[in-house]
Structures are given as structure tokens and as C-alpha cells.
Amino acid sequence: MSKKNVQWLYEELPGLVGKGILPVETAEKLRQHYGDAETGGGKRWAVVLFGILGGALIGAGVILLLAHNWDDLTRPVRAVISFLPLVIAVTLAAFTLGKRAGSAAWREGVGTFWTLSIGATISLVAQTYNISGDFAAFMLTWSLAALPVVYLLNASTPAMLYWIGVTTWAGHIAWRDQTGWWFWPLAALAVPHVWWVARENRYRPRVGLLLWVLTVCGSFGVGFSMQGRWEHTWMPVFASYYAALYLAGSLWFDEGRAFWQRPLQTVGALGVIVLAIILTFGHEWRRLLEIADWQALLHTPLVIWPGAAVTLWVHAWTRREPVALLFGALPVVVLIATALNDFDGVSLVLMNLYVLGLGVTLIALGVRDRRLGVVNLGMLVTSALIIARFLDSDLSFVVRGLAFIAVGIGFLVTNVVLLRRKGAAQ
């Protein structure tokens, strides 16, 4: 249970005991079970953030001071000074491990400084010797050298910097020699840290932040890993990636209330919605099917994403969660639409029905559960679909007009039903 929930429980306990709902002994047992709910959560955050900022600023400041007098120094002196940021960082890390291992502020601050100092040292040596270098190789070397910092100091900022570094590397390498798919095994190297941090409480902000960075980096990674070799698989792979994200989030992070506690669901849902709306346009299908080769996907490492999406979707059926089933259905809908192979007709209608179904279901469930955020998301999806069709020059005015009238009638009827239901409840 999150510390916020524990705090709420503790605030409720005296009232419940006073009204005789809970005996005093049970209240005491609850307090012993959940332990201390730290009330200074906000202050702890500030300390950690200041630690990270302080570490980053010190690192940048050292670099700038050195740069000012750089030209007057001889090459051997510059070479020695180049090591200073890294040596200072390692010394601080040893101090942190020895004396401040329990302080998140120290671990995160020193971890950030250590990560940045690795890049600074390599850059300073490159400047000293006029080494032009390969930017992609620099990013990969920096990222891999910084990876142990994550596990040594149990620090999450270095993990996020690592993923950003690996994504940057993949972006540069993808256009060059098509080995961008190495992004996935490289990104996976830092995933055990997420498991380690989440094992006590998966809803703590640190886990949310890690997953936000990982899922966004992963979105870029999907594109980079296809570049040059498997671009024709973008439709099933992207659809599977976002569907798998949503399904994984609904399976393992379903109790998060705030949207920032649900990065998998948020990024997954946004990805599914945007991709599905793109695929409601006929010319997108026609353009892609000219180069599509679905069977080729089976012979690439990217097949892991459709595999994950299908496995999680089948599992979602056992849990009978309609929203998860709908979002997770995108890869299956794409597959059916492709198999029907009628992109001026049935396949296109199927995609439009899918998006409409998604939007309407979100509205209905949001109204039922009184969750305004879900209602708004449903309205957004439906509105986006309406605007997309309104502007779609592939459809005739008559077809668009009739479709809009039908959907509009549907909304008005739903409105009347909801109002009557609300009136009856009151």
C-alpha cells in the first residue's frame, strides 16, 4: 500500500475506533502492520531533487571552469585534468557507499554526477587530442560505462540517463548500418533495476518515473530497430508494442489512481489511439501494403512484441476487463483488416468501427464509474475520429453526411438515457 494510503488509513483509525466500528486492539495491530507513514514525504522529495540538481550543476560547473583556461595548458596537463571529473565522482561514490548508503539524495546526486563525469572525461580527452570520433560510438561507450552506476548506487536517475543514451545511440546507428534492434537487449540491461525498486511498492513515484522514461524511449526504439531492414513491419510491431504496454499496465499497475502512476497504460493508450486513427485513413493502408510482408516479421527479433501482445491479451480475457481487451485488440484488428484486404471497403469500416467502439466504451465506462478523466479520453477519441472523417477526402459528402447523422443521433439518445438515469437516481 502506498505511503499516502497508509497515512489516510491512520487518519481514519481514530474516528473508526471512536464510533465503535473497529476495536482499539485491531487499530493498533494495523499500525504495527503498516509501520510508520512518513509525513515528510514532500520534504524528502525536495532533498532528493536538490541532490540530483546539485550533482548535475557541479558537474557542469567543473567543465566550464576547466574550459576557460584550457588553451594555456600543455597537452599532458590537460590529459591529467581530464580525469578529474571521473576521479572526483568515484571518490564521492565510495564515500556515499561507505557513509551515506541510506540517503537517496546522496545516491541519486552522486550517481547523476558520476554518470555525467564519464561523458565529460571522454569528451575532454577527445578535445585534448583533437579526436573527431564517431558520435554513436561515444554514446554507446558512455552509456555502457555508466550502467554499473545504476546498480552500485541503486540510483534511478543514472538508469534514466542510460536509456536516453542508448536511445540516442540507436537513433544514430539505425540510419547507418541497421543494427538499431540492439536497442532492446541494451535497454533490457537496466530493467532489473526497475524490478528491484518496485518490489516493495510498485506505485512509488520513482517507479513511475522510471517507467515513463523507459516507455517513451521504447517508442523511439521501436522505430529505430526497424530502420533500414524491417520498415515494412511497422504496423504490426507498433500496434503490438502499444497494446502490450497497455495490457502490461492493466495487469501489474492497475491500482494506480493518478495518471503519472500509470505510465504503461497512458503511453500504451495514447499509442493505440493515435495509431488506430492513422489506420482509419485508406491511403495509409494502400501505401503500406505495397511493401508489406507480414511473414517476414516471424523471422525478426521484433516478433517478440506481437508475441507479448497476444499473450497478454489472452490473459486479459480471463480477467474480463473490457477496456484492456479493447486497447489490446488493436494488433488483432490490424491483422484481420489486412487479411480482408479490402482497403476501400470492409477493412476501413472495421478500423473505423474499432476506434468508434473504443471511444464510446471509454465514455460509457467513465460515466458508470464516475471517472471524468476516462469520459474525457473517450470524448477525445470520438472527436478525433469525427474530425478525421470530416476531413477525409476519400469519402463522399453523402457517406460522411449519413455517417455523422447516425453517430450524432446515437450521442443524443445516449444523452437522454443518461439524463433520465441521473434524474431517477436523484
Binding site: 574550459a67 588553451d71 571522454i122 587530442y129 583533437n130 573527431s132
Partner: protein, 186 residues
């Protein structure tokens, strides 16, 4: 905790080994490598002196391809370097594997022509300058430049495929010395 510190020592040693190796390789090349003078091509001063470094372009950017199979963009290759009759370096050919004997540079193929000539990118194309010096260098280059007369070249030490840029010369003088002799801007 002792285990943690021991692992930290191993990790730190690995991280420090990276710049140490870079320095060792460059120092070895600078000490033992043969110096070659590469003529730099006239460059637009605005583009050349942007930021913290001088962007170098070299007069020779292509040479005959000596491999049996066609090469392509971004492929790594090896340029055979010799000293020409005028004392400046010339690339005699580009090979798919290190040529023996002779000094060679690891280059990247930019473009392979059907006539079997390849355009390549030198591994040294940046000369770092302190930021406030770069505008001075730009002015000096412009003030002294008639494009056909500018005697600029880079001295590069070459050994076993590695290269180390030793100095950039403007009108036969090291760049920094040239700048020191320039009158201060009024």
C-alpha cells in the same frame, strides 16, 4: 559494504581505462607515428569556425578503389597514404583491408563512383579551439585569405591505421602562434 567498495573499485578501473586507453593510443601515435602534411581545402569561414572547433576539409577527398567488390556508403575502409613530390600527403588508393606495406588511415566511404573512385571522410576533421579564439581565427583566415594563396595544412601523425592530429598551420605557422601575432581587434 566491503564487497560494494570492491565492486566500485573494479567498475572505476574499467571506466578510467577508457580515457586512459584513448590517451595511450594518441600519445603512441604522436610519438612514434610518421608525420604527414594534409592540405586543407578552402572552407567558408563561417561554417569552418563555428562553435568550439575548426571544421577541417581536405583538398583530396577521393581516390581509386583497390578492392575486388564494389564498396558502398558508410563502409569502413583503409586509405594508403604516401608523401608526394611536393612534400604533402597523398592518398594513393582505398582498400577494403589494411594495405601492406605502407602507412594507412581508417576512413569511412562517403560515396562509391561507378568508375571505381571512392569519396571518403578523413578520421580527423575537427581542430579544437577555445571558444574566444575561434572568432579571432575566423577573422585571421578571412583577412589573410586569397583562396589560391592560403597555405593551410594539418600535420597528422599516422601509425598502424591510427591517426593523431598534431597541429593546424595557417600560412605555414601553427594556428595558435598565428593568432598570437594578429593585432587585437579594435
Amino acid at each position: 559494504m566491503k564487497l560494494g567498495l570492491a565492486i566500485l573499485a573494479v567498475v572505476a578501473a574499467g571506466q578510467l581505462a577508457i580515457p586512459a586507453y584513448m590517451i595511450h593510443r594518441q600519445e603512441t601515435t604522436l610519438r612514434e607515428g610518421r608525420p604527414y602534411k594534409f592540405k586543407t581545402a578552402p572552407v567558408d569561414p563561417y561554417d569552418a569556425f563555428r562553435g568550439r572547433y575548426v571544421a577541417l576539409r581536405f583538398e583530396q577527398d577521393h581516390a581509386p578503389w583497390r578492392g575486388t567488390n564494389q564498396t558502398s556508403y558508410r563502409v569502413k575502409a583503409y586509405a594508403l597514404v604516401e608523401e608526394g613530390a611536393d612534400g604533402f600527403a597523398v592518398v594513393r588508393g582505398v582498400f577494403p583491408t589494411p594495405p601492406v606495406p605502407g602507412d594507412y588511415l581508417k576512413v569511412q566511404v562517403n560515396y562509391a563512383e561507378p568508375t571505381n573512385s571512392v569519396y571518403f571522410m578523413m578520421p580527423f576533421d575537427q581542430y579544437y579551439m577555445e571558444e574566444t579564439q575561434a572568432p579571432k581565427a575566423e577573422r585571421a583566415y578571412r583577412d589573410n585569405n586569397r583562396r589560391t594563396n592560403v597555405n593551410t595544412y594539418a600535420v597528422v601523425r599516422v601509425k598502424d591505421g591510427y591517426s593523431a592530429l598534431e597541429e593546424l598551420y595557417l600560412n605555414g605557422m601553427p594556428m595558435r602562434e598565428f593568432l598570437r601575432q594578429q593585432p587585437a581587434k579594435k
